[in-house]
């Protein structure tokens, strides 16, 4: 038995090494002064970070990315909350349709989505190809599956339909029951999917590059442009960027842990659980029993 545990230790050790070496390597490279023929850097320096944080282009790119994220995630919350609420509570027969529309983007890669978007918006009545506005629309659709899942499951957990029935029975209007009963109860659930969406859009490159490119330089475009210049500076960008992503996902994990007592909440896992539910109910039943 003991030798088999050693075997598992070796496997996991190799795996962790494979996963962490690129990250650690990039980090060391970003703080390395001279480093070319040794295992560890010969000298360390913070120059690359100082150079990065003095680069106006970096701040501009960061601001543009923030603008896109705030706009599209904000729009998504403002539009999806009432939409999902209304359909769940008042038009439940359309739920299947809403689900299909909301989950479809998950099956379409950005590269395919971009082909159609360019076609629609490069001529005709609305010519917004090449402007940030087309990106906001594309991003709204990109995060749709995550926002839908988050809001839908929050509504289900609090039994929104019964709550609204009760509130209306007691004389509340539809808006009142939404604002004072439903909304305060689902904020934390929405927060998780909002943060997930922010992290997702932060690392979005395909749409940004194909639809707008250098005309509206986001952080990812800036990074791609810097790939061929100084490696140390680019490492510093990668590490700064990745720390922000980690911070975001860290908060998400904390929140999910608090909400569900389930430490491995992942956006991708959630999506798969959706597919599993759809494709083989029996299987999830087996996995569900703990």
């Amino acid at each position: 038995m003991k030798s088999s545990l050693t075997f598992h230790k070796v496997i996991v050790g190799l795996l962790v090494m494979y996963l962490l070496i690129p990250l650690v390597g990039t980090f060391l490279f970003s703080i390395a002064g001279k480093w070319d023929h040794t295992i560890l850097p010969e000298s360390y320096t913070m120059d690359w970070y100082i150079e990065l944080f003095q680069d106006e282009r970096f701040y501009d790119a960061f601001r543009r990315t923030l603008f896109l994220i705030v706009m599209s995630v904000g729009l998504s919350v403002v539009i999806m909350l009432p939409t999902i609420f209304i359909i769940t509570v008042y038009f439940s027969k359309w739920e299947g349709l809403l689900q299909a529309a909301a989950m479809l983007p998950y099956g379409i890669p950005p590269i395919v989505g971009a082909v159609g978007l360019i076609k629609v918006y490069s001529d005709g009545p609305i010519q917004i190809a090449g402007t940030p506005w087309i990106l906001i629309g594309a991003y709204f659709i990109t995060i749709l599956p995550f926002m839908y899942q988050g809001i839908r499951s929050s509504l289900r957990t609090i039994n929104a339909v019964q709550l609204v029935d009760a509130a209306e029975l007691l004389g509340a209007t539809k808006f009142q029951s939404f604002r004072t009963v439903v909304f305060p109860n689902i904020i934390s659930g929405i927060l998780v999917s909002t943060l997930l969406s922010v992290a997702l859009l932060f690392s979005e490159f395909a749409f940004a590059n194909l639809l707008v490119g250098g005309r509206f330089e986001t952080i990812q475009i800036y990074l791609a442009d810097k790939l061929n210049s100084s490696g140390h500076l680019t490492s510093a960008i990668v590490i700064t960027y990745y720390s922000m992503i980690l911070l975001l996902t860290g908060i998400v994990l904390k929140l999910t842990f608090r909400n569900e007592k389930n430490p491995v909440g992942s956006n991708k896992k959630r999506i798969l659980s959706f597919f599993k539910k759809k494709y083989c109910n029996k299987n999830t039943a087996i996995e569900g029993e703990k």
Binding site: Y18, A114, V115, G116, N209, Y242
Partner: protein, 284 residues
Amino acid sequence: MRKIKKQKIYLLALLLPFIMFVIGFEIGPLVAMIKNSFYADDGIQVAIDQYITIFKSEFYLQAIQNSLVISLFSAVTSVIIAVIAAYSITKFSQKIQNRLLMIANMTSNFEGIPLSFSFIILLGNNGLFTLLFSKIGGDVFADFNLYSWTGLILVYIYFQIPLAIMLIYPSYQGIKKQWKEASSLLGGSTLSFWLHIGIPVLLPSIVGTFSILFANSMGAYATAYALVGSNYNLLSLQIASLVASDVALKPQLGSAMGVLLAATMIGAMWFNERMMRRIRRDLR
């Protein structure tokens, strides 16, 4: 009665923004792409020229083939590694398991441009490892070229493994200790337990993960773009250069290739569903 009807209209009006976004940025572009793929190069004449061009051109067929081979290869490899690694993970204490899954979750966010960059500084032409190994005198990496098929596979596998582990790990929780005890009480060996009980229970999850990984790498664009630019013939890179490059735009041809890519992904999902049905027939 009248009041209720009026309220319903207000509620429906609130759905309008959502419907507009879905039509404008989801359904509309998809329909436009499909329609556009059935036009000739001039964009006026209705024809299936584009599809004929693709299937007659060795270049484009090669792009499709390369994408398929890379996706299949990386998905199969990652699933195999993940099945073994996830099993090993379950052997540790709960605390360490959570740590390891945290690492998987963390690294699953390391993808696209930053990931490619990371591999370039480690294994690229002037990469740290490349220089180090050449100094030690190892010829192991002499033939290795990051900006090629092997490099792409290496990077693709990197971003697939954490995802595969997170998807497969939960299904190991479904295999009960009691099943193993029962199997050995009835005279089964470890091997026969896995052959007849363990793997059949895991199979749906493995197939499901495989098709997600396959679709994931078929559609991958950023990683390949950063790593090989236009030096390697991949479906996603070809589509990008046909619809959004500075030279020789061919939107109709690009649309046709987009339709083919989407069809492959729908095919993968369909295959997934069929396999699930076949495998789980006993439970239905």
